[in-house]
Symmetry: C2
Amino acid sequence: MGVTAEPDSALHADAARPSRREQILQAAARLFAERGARSVGVDDIGAAVGVTGPAIYRHFTGKDAMLAEMLLRISERLQAGAERVVLAAGDDPRAQLDALVAFQVDFALDNPALITVQDRDLGALSEDDARQVRRLQRRYVEQWVAVLTALDPDATTAACRARAHALFGLINSTPHSAGRLSRPAMRALLVTMATSAATG
Amino acid sequence: MGVTAEPDSALHADAARPSRREQILQAAARLFAERGARSVGVDDIGAAVGVTGPAIYRHFTGKDAMLAEMLLRISERLQAGAERVVLAAGDDPRAQLDALVAFQVDFALDNPALITVQDRDLGALSEDDARQVRRLQRRYVEQWVAVLTALDPDATTAACRARAHALFGLINSTPHSAGRLSRPAMRALLVTMATSAATG
DNA sequence: CCCCGACGTGAACCGTGGTTAACATCCCGG
DNA sequence: CCGGGATGTTAACCACGGTTCACGTCGGGG
């Protein structure tokens, strides 16, 4: 399936007044996060934006196409963002780590729904789409691994990869402890814990 | 709809030769973890233990009853285990934390499938069963919160709860970084990182 | 020996939900 | 004013999968 090209509408994606297409994607993300993609009906998604179920098919080829586009966008944003902040951090591995941590924490706090969907519903994708998402995710992980390796040259690549996943788990715990803490407090807490965990 | 009483079969649960009922639960746990509860059919579960789909109904009242029993058992094991290890650790909060960390790490390494199912498929339970599971989970979390509060009396309860969830996320990342590291190495890595994250 | 309960099987039933079809509405460019 | 594309709606279609049914087998106790 893959994401349909759609050259023009994809560009002004998050404009001031989001297009109906974007409204749908956003509503779907929220619903998918709450109940799981397979438990959400197209009628539910439609109702969330004020239309009936079949209206969705004016904007997407099908339900799985929505999920695919959603996951591909997330993976792409994460991958590109990580590349950007690492470059901006200069040559110091410690500064690079701080940049990655801050980036991931902000992303998780800004998009708890996307975080939840990404690691729960990847299995609902077609093998083709899943492969593409995994490729992007792998590139994202490898950026963390590179930084962690620079910080601790004695550690094996496998160990650094496991550390990276552990840090993701820590930071992505946000959706589970929802709302109890103010955002700045939560941000500070996660940054501190992740940094401590990473630097031992 | 709650776990059926079943006084005799429940007792010799994990005997040397697991009963057909236990085989089914174990196979279901593995499949649920791989694909998500809603994506695995009763036929799949049956096939995994060498019978046809409807045979399941000789042992369970339905598919959701399996999931409910699975999640209730996990929550119960975690809650009871935490209570046990904290008591065994004596009065020192630091020793209590170490005990909780070791306990959770061992559980996650021993039962990656259960860990995955627990935090992904809770939403698939009936409201009644979900409430019961959440009650047990809350009691488990509160044990961590108590220890974390003892370690850092200035922190608010909300902050300690967020810290506990972050630590769960870190430790439960095991299923994501599957198998690349030997078990002892993975155990040491997770214990070190969790302890660092918890004690800043 | 025979009956009964435990355990399975294949076939059928049926609700749910994704998808398509056929038909309105609205708005804009010619 | 008219035609057509974008966007929706309702009703129908249809596959999938959980569940039930009617029937077999088998082993152990009266």
